[in-house]
Amino acid sequence: MPVISTERLTKRYPRVTALDALTIDIGDGVTGLVGANGAGKSTLLKILLGLTEATSGTATVLGHDIVSDGLALRSRVGYMPEHDCLPGDMSATELVVHLARMSGLPTSAARERAADTLRHVGLYEERYRPIGGYSTGMKQRVKLAQALVHDPDVVFLDEPTNGLDPAGRDEMLSLVRRIHTDFGISVLVTSHLLGELERICDGVVIIDGGTLLRSSTVADFTRSSDRLALEVLADPDDALVALADAGLEVVRDGLLLLVALEDDETYDKVRDVVADQELGLVRLAPRRHHIAEVFDEEATRVIS
């Protein structure tokens, strides 16, 4: 059974259509919801949680209808909003304990879960200080902790890497990955940066202008087009000719040569050519096709 399933879900505002008859099924694991700003990502999450009403269409989360079964749905879902939502005068511990109780946990369980969850997201001694003095990275962790504190079956994370520096981004992304691998909780995570999601997602849903552009697994995106990246001491152009003569499909990308990886024999052929021509091998590594490139092709196709 899919974790999330929508059927012609539509949201119209007076001036814009945020979602246009969106029909998707999202399974378990980590799913990236990708789209430009204003593509309808946040609107979709809010409709699934019942924070906003859909204009038409239906949807279920974990088998619960979003309209008729909202309370049961929300007790099994965690939500990390995109924008700042933390009261500055409370400490992280106080806030997360309180919100755990708001999710229906008895007081003692709420305390225990809050302490556990804050530790898992990497907040230690600072959790007793008022949130007002936290850095952006720490605030994002508190927001994540409150989404996980009631041990939901699925969490919706709206732009969790927003406002973080590169190191903070990496930490947050690996934390998101761990939510599924270590905690066993399915994740729907939005981002406008496709590149950062491919490392951590099992599947990607791309929406644009409220409609589905593409939905598939990350493996599908990247498997079909694996290539070998090759760096040599010799002039890349000479090497390119030599490799092409050996019957390999090869293109030049700056100093690198990209060889289409057909099967294991490709490695042997490359080795032989390099050895025969004395090209001076510096580096030989498989390179996955980035989803971003697929996305670009896809987007171009849609536009043209």
Binding site: L51, P87, G88, D89, D182
Partner: protein
């Protein structure tokens, strides 16, 4: 061989993620938890020390005169000067209305404006809780807090009266009436204040607006009543004017329903007016509840 004793002290073991299979409470119980949180918050409990200063200060201001009055009752009776309380229970709220106003003006924005300012509502509404539950919990919590603030000194005075040996039956009846009045005071003041507070995300604005509305309406109404009742010699009209401020409104209900002396220049002039005062009080509370619900249906999250 390693034994538990030989393990170095202070090592943190990463026990990994543990799920939660325990009890999950109903929506009702969650609303109750939010109510308790709101009630504690009104007195600054569970918040920073500086949040406690005003609520606790006002609680002391409310209690001190009652303690003094209780002592006066006991001493006065012994000296044979007194046979009943110096101040009727039902008038206590009006006498200390400044403290009441300050308390509610700080507690109401504390309860709702902060959630608006910090945009915390999505955190609540993404949980098994409806918007109406949020409103209900906040309103009942503030009403309870104001009621406790008012009921505690009344009980102190009552104990003083009992200790002084005043007629227990009539004292009990009187304090019961005053407690009912206190409940109505609490409900009216809380709904008016919460509606005002819910309109602003700035706590300062909320405090200023609530104090202004409560104090200004009382000043205008009571001075108009004074002018009309004494200078124009028209206590009937003066009595009706009492409808237009929360404090004189509830005082009017007490005067009519319990036959106690009024704290204003003129109480409701007849039964029709008395009934109007009661209905208006209840309407203010109901309207406050409806307006809050409408307000929170519209809040964007």
């Amino acid at each position: 061989m390693s034994s538990p004793d030989s393990a170095p002290a202070g090592v943190i073991h990463n026990i990994g993620y543990r799920g939660y299979d325990g009890e999950r409470l109903s929506r009702r119980a969650i609303t109750l938890a939010l109510y308790t949180h709101g009630l504690r918050g009104a007195f600054g409990l569970g918040r920073a020390a500086r949040s406690k200063v005003i609520p606790m200060g006002m609680a002391v201001v409310m209690l001190l005169p009652a303690v003094v009055l209780a002592v006066v009752a006991v001493v006065g009776e012994q000296m044979g000067q007194l046979s009943g309380p110096v101040v009727p229970y039902t008038r206590y709220a009006m006498i200390l209305q400044a403290a009441l106003a300050i308390f509610v003006a700080v507690a109401a924005p504390q309860s709702v404006s902060l959630d608006l300012r910090f945009h915390s509502l999505p955190l609540y509404l993404a949980r098994p809780l409806a918007r109406a539950d949020y409103v209900r919990a906040k309103l009942t919590a503030l009403t309870t807090a104001v009621f406790l603030l008012l009921a505690a000194p009344l009980l102190v005075m009552y104990l003083g009266s009992l200790a002084a040996g005043f007629d227990a039956a009539s004292e009990t009846a009187d304090v019961a009436q005053a407690l009912l009045g206190a409940l109505l005071y609490a409900a009216v003041l809380s709904s008016v204040s919460l509606v005002i507070a819910s309109l602003t995300s700035r706590r300062g604005f909320g405090i200023a607006a609530i104090v202004t509305v409560l104090v200004l309406s009382y000043s205008i109404v009571s001075s108009m009543q004074g002018v009309i009742a004494f200078d124009a010699d028209d206590p009937t009209t003066a009595g009706w004017v009492g409808l237009f401020s929360p404090m004189t409104l509830v005082d009017g209900v007490q005067v009519w329903a319990f036959g106690v002396t009024t704290s204003t220049p003129a109480g409701p002039p007849n039964d029709l007016a008395g009934a109007a005062f009661l209905l208006t009080s209840l309407a203010v509370v109901a309207l406050g509840y409806v307006v809050l619900n409408r307000r929170y249906r519209k809040v964007k999250v």
